[in-house]
């Protein structure tokens, strides 16, 4: 018989209590995994941002546009290698509850500035050639069972009217953090209709994406761009793509912070649940520990026995919890509106976090019962009536 066998037998001594403790840990790990996944998804845009891209937007608010004429002036600034632009289009595709990014972009430059959207040369050429063409992300194609040549009809809201687009490309994400739920069409197509239907809204750009050669020059170039348009009717605010994404999150930062805090509170709760179980177990075994000490078992043996049991329960609970978290995250991703979280999956860091938490919890929860077992001398242990 090995000590590990005794640890397993001790764990199974009160099957219901051990089962309930494992169940509690599993549920807590699932909750932890889901919360961390939401937090990660929330920050996915920041993680995916590129260091050599700047975003130039209207200084007053993102909802105001900028003149198309700024493009040439920005492009002339030293250190700027490329520039593209986009308008947030929105609209309704099939179901207004199903959200995904729909944008009018400069067909000639957009995919050069965003190399993380992988598109074949033929698809890109086809897209550029056709005024009403669009490119969609592979996730959107999969979700709506769309293929090249299909027509996507979108009911405009910000830009009213019926808009028909022909799918000429389906891009794949280069990285795990790349959003594969976007839909991009020609800004020229949008602009043409604006010129006809709402001339006051024509030749307007939502924001510019400025590609720079050296990320170290980001602050300097940003200042130069903003200085160019100072005191104009449309002053600009230029910042790194990361800062821009973080600015979006700032409005919801309290929620994200709350979720972050809750996810760690959950770890504290698991610790209390397991700690309580271990304290009860050690208390019931006070006499047995006295017997073992009498037989010659030392402090390290008892420490190993109690800590081993605590870690075993913690690992089983965390293992079951993680095992169930994967399908639950997938299920959750299917329930939430499409595109609301472009990247929604259990990240390896969350798994590593949960495993580390299991080790930490197992160790910490075993400390009070170990202290108690070691502190009680043999004579008092034999006198103990549980």
């Amino acid at each position: 018989m090995k000590i590990i066998k005794l640890i397993i037998k001790n764990s199974l001594r009160h099957k219901l209590r051990t089962f309930l403790t494992i169940l509690g840990i599993s549920i807590a790990v699932i909750a932890f995994g889901l919360l961390r996944t939401v937090v990660t998804a929330w920050n996915a845009g920041v993680e995916a941002s590129s260091a050599n891209r700047l975003i130039t937007r209207q200084a007053v608010s993102f909802i105001f546009s900028l003149p198309y004429s700024y493009r040439e002036k920005i492009l002339k600034i030293p250190g700027v290698t490329n520039i593209t632009y986009a308008n947030w289009f929105q609209g309704v595709y099939i179901d207004k509850n199903q959200f995904f990014a729909r944008m009018a972009v400069d067909a000639n430059t957009f995919f050069d500035v965003y190399p993380e959207f992988l598109l074949s040369k033929k698809e890109l050429d086809d897209f550029k050639k056709e005024r009403t063409a669009c490119v969609i992300g592979s996730d959107i194609a999969k979700t709506y069972k769309l293929k090249i040549g299909d027509v996507m009809t979108i009911e405009g809201d910000i830009f009213p009217g019926r808009w028909d687009f022909v799918i000429r490309g389906i891009y794949k994400p280069r990285d795990k953090t790349t959003d594969a739920t976007g839909m991009y069409f020609h800004w020229d197509y949008l602009n043409e209709r604006m010129e006809k239907e709402f001339p006051g809204r024509a030749n307007q750009v939502g924001w510019y994406v400025v590609q720079i050669k050296d990320p170290a020059q980001a602050a300097e170039i940003s200042q130069k761009i903003d200085a160019l348009f100072k005191n104009s009717t449309a002053e600009t605010k230029t910042e790194s793509e990361r800062a821009f994404q973080q600015g979006f999150l700032a409005a919801t930062s309290a929620i994200v912070t709350a979720m972050n805090v809750i996810s760690f509170v959950i770890i504290g709760i698991i610790m209390l649940v397991l700690g309580n179980t271990m304290i009860m177990s050690a208390r019931e075994r006070t006499r047995e520990y006295a017997v073992m000490k009498t037989l010659g078992f030392e402090r390290r043996h008892l420490t190993g026995l109690i800590m081993g049991e605590s870690l075993l329960i913690s690992f089983i609970g965390a293992g079951i919890g993680l095992f169930l978290t994967f399908p639950l995250v997938e299920g959750f991703a299917m329930v939430i509106p499409k595109g609301f979280f472009p990247i929604f999956r259990l990240e390896p860091i969350t798994v590593i976090f949960a495993c580390s938490a299991a080790v930490f919890i197992g160790l910490v929860a075993s400390v009070p019962p170990i202290q108690r077992a070691l502190k009680t001398n043999i004579v008092d242990g034999f006198r103990f009536v549980g």
Partner: protein, 223 residues
């Protein structure tokens, strides 16, 4: 016969709520190797305390205790644990078997602290269980055994490391008459046949009759 236990000027007192309660007063006696000593006395006379001191699970307030030439009252906690593992076999009144372990595993428990291989441990355990007549109950759990059988498993556990000394604290105190007689016969056999030195605490005169020598304690004094 040389003395295997030397108790020299041993006193023991406990602190209870700021009160010092004397339990043993300047005790002196020796136990010879191969002896079977019964310590008798009324409740509270200090017999279990004296037994605990000899077994190295408690320390005297004053005086020295030598067992097999080792001054155990001076050993550190860790050294004392190691010493107990190979020198002392303890039999308790309430058997104190681990309920989740079989008879075999309970007897094997002290051997886990040794460097014996699995097959050697198995041989030792089987021998110990055969000595106490429980070869056919090796895979039984404590709750599947009678009180007498449980105590025999506890004796096998005490014997399995072939200790210098067997210490028995009221070994028949929780048993019926027949089972108690079986246990006493077994202890007598261990003493006579296997030459084990035994110190037994009892308040049962019939149990004490099995011992070669009887010492009485009264209010902490040997009388």
């Amino acid at each position: 016969m040389p003395a295997i236990i030397e108790v020299q000027n041993v006193s023991k007192s406990y602190m209870r709520d700021n009160f010092q309660i004397p339990v043993l007063n300047n005790i002196n006696f020796n136990v010879e190797e191969g002896d079977f000593l019964a310590l008798m006395g009324p409740s509270g006379s200090g017999k279990t305390t004296l037994l605990n001191l000899i077994a190295g699970i408690d320390k005297p307030t004053k005086g020295n205790i030598l067992v097999g030439g080792t001054e155990i009252s001076k050993l550190t906690e860790s050294a004392l644990a190691k010493w107990r593992a190979h020198s002392i076999g303890f039999v308790f009144q309430f058997y104190n078997l681990i309920p989740v372990l079989t008879a075999f595993e309970n007897v094997e428990l002290p051997l886990l602290l040794t460097s014996l291989s699995k097959s050697e441990r198995k041989k030792h355990v089987e021998t110990a269980l055969s000595v106490v007549g429980l070869s056919d109950r090796m895979l039984h759990y404590p709750k599947q055994l009678s009180g007498g059988q449980e105590q025999r498993v506890a004796i096998a556990r005490a014997l399995v490391t072939d200790p210098l000394l067997l210490i028995a604290d009221e070994p028949t105190g929780d048993l019926d008459k027949n089972s108690a007689a079986e246990i006493l016969t077994l202890l007598e056999r261990l003493n006579q046949e296997f030459k084990k030195t035994i110190v037994m605490v009892t308040h049962d005169p019939h149990a004490a009759e099995k011992a070669r020598k009887i010492r009485h304690l009264d209010k902490g004094d040997l009388v």
